[in-house]
């Protein structure tokens, strides 16, 4: 009997460990921020200024991009549409998807909004004066830079393609473009939906 003691001890410790794991805790697919950073901004929407703090309830999903972007931006925007459509109408009421154009030279607030709404009518498109957009980008750690410049109005833009999830004025979750590339990995869709549900 004595020689079984170590085995009992190990089993006991494993059992104790299992009991200590919080029940129903969700393991996040996206990057959960342990020290949620307060964020706020005011940018131009199609019907005037929109402040992030106006969305006090629920979640705001923010993606920075530009309209003349046929590959990277639609990949994430189509995925955000799929995520949104997988939520119940009740959940949808508590989720706002926001597209912010980092190309205010070409994209007016109206164009940014028409772009966002083409993916889903409930989405919102914003932009602002170049210095305003820059300030918002800096607050989120977003980088953008013109490349392949061929002339005025003819260039590409490199940009941070992370989707930022804000709750109660704080940045709580990051979704990298890889995790929102459902064209590659359709299996990621339920994981992202589960992340949002865990936050809601």
């Amino acid at each position: 009997m004595k020689r079984f003691w170590p085995a009992f001890l190990v089993l006991g410790l494993l059992g104790l460990g299992y009991l200590l794991v919080p029940r129903g805790s969700h393991s996040f697919f996206g990057t959960r921020l342990l020290n949620p950073k307060p964020v706020d901004f005011t940018l131009e929407g199609p019907k005037g200024p929109v402040r992030l703090a106006d969305f006090r309830e629920g979640l705001v999903l923010i993606f920075f991009g530009y309209v003349h972007c046929p590959d990277v931006c639609p990949t994430t925007m189509i995925s955000l549409k799929q995520v949104y459509e997988n939520l119940s109408p009740e959940e949808q009421r508590r989720v706002q998807v926001v597209f912010i154009s980092v190309d205010p030279e070409r994209d007016t607030p109206e164009i940014a909004d028409q772009y966002a709404k083409a993916f889903h009518p409930a989405f919102l498109g914003l932009t602002g004066r170049p210095e305003e957009v820059q300030e918002v980008a800096r607050a989120f750690g977003v980088y953008y830079q013109k490349t392949a410049y061929r002339g005025p109005g003819e260039y590409l833009v490199d940009h941070t393609a992370t989707t930022f999830v804000v709750q109660g004025g704080r940045l709580v979750l990051l979704l990298s473009p890889d995790k929102l590339n459902f064209a590659h990995n359709l299996g990621y869709l339920p994981k992202v939906v589960a992340d949002l549900r865990a936050l809601l």
Partner: protein, 139 residues
């Protein structure tokens, strides 16, 4: 027709070399003047195959792009870069897909509609042209 095929392949050996697995043209919001086309090129031949360009009646220009990724401030910064050609090794294939290569249809002459078919003529080094028809889809 089946009997004719070997003769046709003999007359156009390059046609036998390239197989295009169709993909799709991305449906983009009507405010966007550019879109992307995706497909897979298969090289059945013994020599490398080079796609050097493409033409379509629906856009002013078609250019080849490859996605570009770097990390800045802990985030993935994405963009795209024009490439002069895309080479498919003998016996190999290259998939154009979101996050990799795409054919950028620049300056759409009109907004495309979901489900419509777009004709694309692929131009290969050596003068070979291959016509493909791709559906317009939001995916």
């Amino acid at each position: 027709m089946k009997r004719l095929l070997p003769i046709l392949l003999f007359l156009f050996p390059a046609l036998a070399q390239v197989v295009v697995e169709p993909g799709w043209v991305r449906l983009v919001p009507p405010v966007v003047p550019d879109t992307a086309a995706y497909l897979t090129l298969v090289n059945r031949g013994r020599t490398p195959l080079r796609l050097v360009g493409a033409e379509t009646p629906v856009a002013r220009r078609v250019s080849l792009h490859r996605d570009h990724q770097e990390h800045k401030g802990g985030h993935a910064v994405l963009g795209m870069r024009p490439v002069p050609y895309v080479e498919v090794p003998p016996g190999g294939k290259v998939a154009f897909r979101p996050g990799g290569y795409h054919l950028m249809l620049e300056g759409l002459k009109r907004p495309l509609k979901a489900g419509e078919k777009v004709e694309l003529t692929l131009l290969f080094q050596g003068g070979l042209k291959v016509k493909v028809v791709l559906p317009v889809e939001m995916r």
